[in-house]
């Protein structure tokens, strides 16, 4: 049986959609490797963009996903379209990223930027077990709806370097 390749050639519309999905996200599903079983552990996390457009998570050290990332930096991220709350979720645009998660400094600019978009985080952002993690994309799979899928490189998802 011949299998048609469901992946289309990446174009600027796909890049624009991927960047919009990343820019608007406030939460996402994180995938980590469960240290005990090696299975993919899925958790919902708070996530925004860092200054360069890289996904930035604010994670508690008490959570299972943080222990998993401390043992193995390999991560996945499922970003849904926050504006598409109605209708059949299988037709909504979404972006799946394979990534490496690395701890990030809680410098004041990063902290202030986070709080500007998530003021309620003020309650826990300074607790000693919370810290930032950069979820650095390695590759992406963009699903723009039925039969429209694209494989993306990091440069297709992140903001272009400032001129």
């Amino acid at each position: 049986m011949s299998k048609p390749d469901p992946i289309q050639a990446t174009d600027d519309a796909a890049r624009k959609l991927a960047r919009r999905l990343i820019a608007q996200m406030r939460h996402a599903v994180l995938g980590t490797l469960d240290p005990d079983s090696g299975a993919p552990l899925l958790t919902r996390i708070a996530v925004q963009t860092d200054r360069d457009g890289t996904p930035l998570a604010l994670l508690s050290g008490l959570a299972a996903h943080t222990r998993a990332l401390q043992a193995d930096a390999r991560a996945g991220l499922m970003i849904a379209d926050g504006k598409a709350a109605k209708g059949d979720a299988m037709t909504h645009a979404r972006l799946s990223i394979l990534a490496r998660a690395l701890p990030a400094d809680p410098d004041p600019a990063r902290r202030d930027r986070w709080l500007a978009r998530d003021p309620k985080a003020r309650v826990y952002i300074d607790l000693p077990d919370f810290r930032f993690w950069r979820i650095e994309p390695v590759s992406g799979l963009l699903n723009a709806g039925f039969a429209r899928a694209y494989r993306l490189e990091p440069a297709d998802m992140l903001e272009p370097p400032a001129p």
Copy 2:
């Protein structure tokens, strides 16, 4: 620093919530192990319950997650509360399952049961590359909102055996 255990003792209210989340799901985020990198690959899939309450997925053999499951049965599943589309998603109930995914026979009862809840699947359910997979729970992590988390065994999530 002493770390409080954020996990509460599993009670019947937690079991009831987990079973409701599983019973109402029509889609979920699947985690598989990317065969190339070993990283957790997250994709949105169509999923319902099988007769015994086990999550049942209908997957295309053309999809990356199916190739991943054929290489390694370890899977994760993130089930959100379909009735909680509004408000802060971080406060919505959700269930994360660690599981083993196993191909399931497309017997007529299973096929009819699926189509009764997903009539639009009639367009592709009989295509040769589509098949059912049982996502058999190994353990679960139920988040019922901030600071209410429970670890679940399979018996806490599946329907009790018929008397």
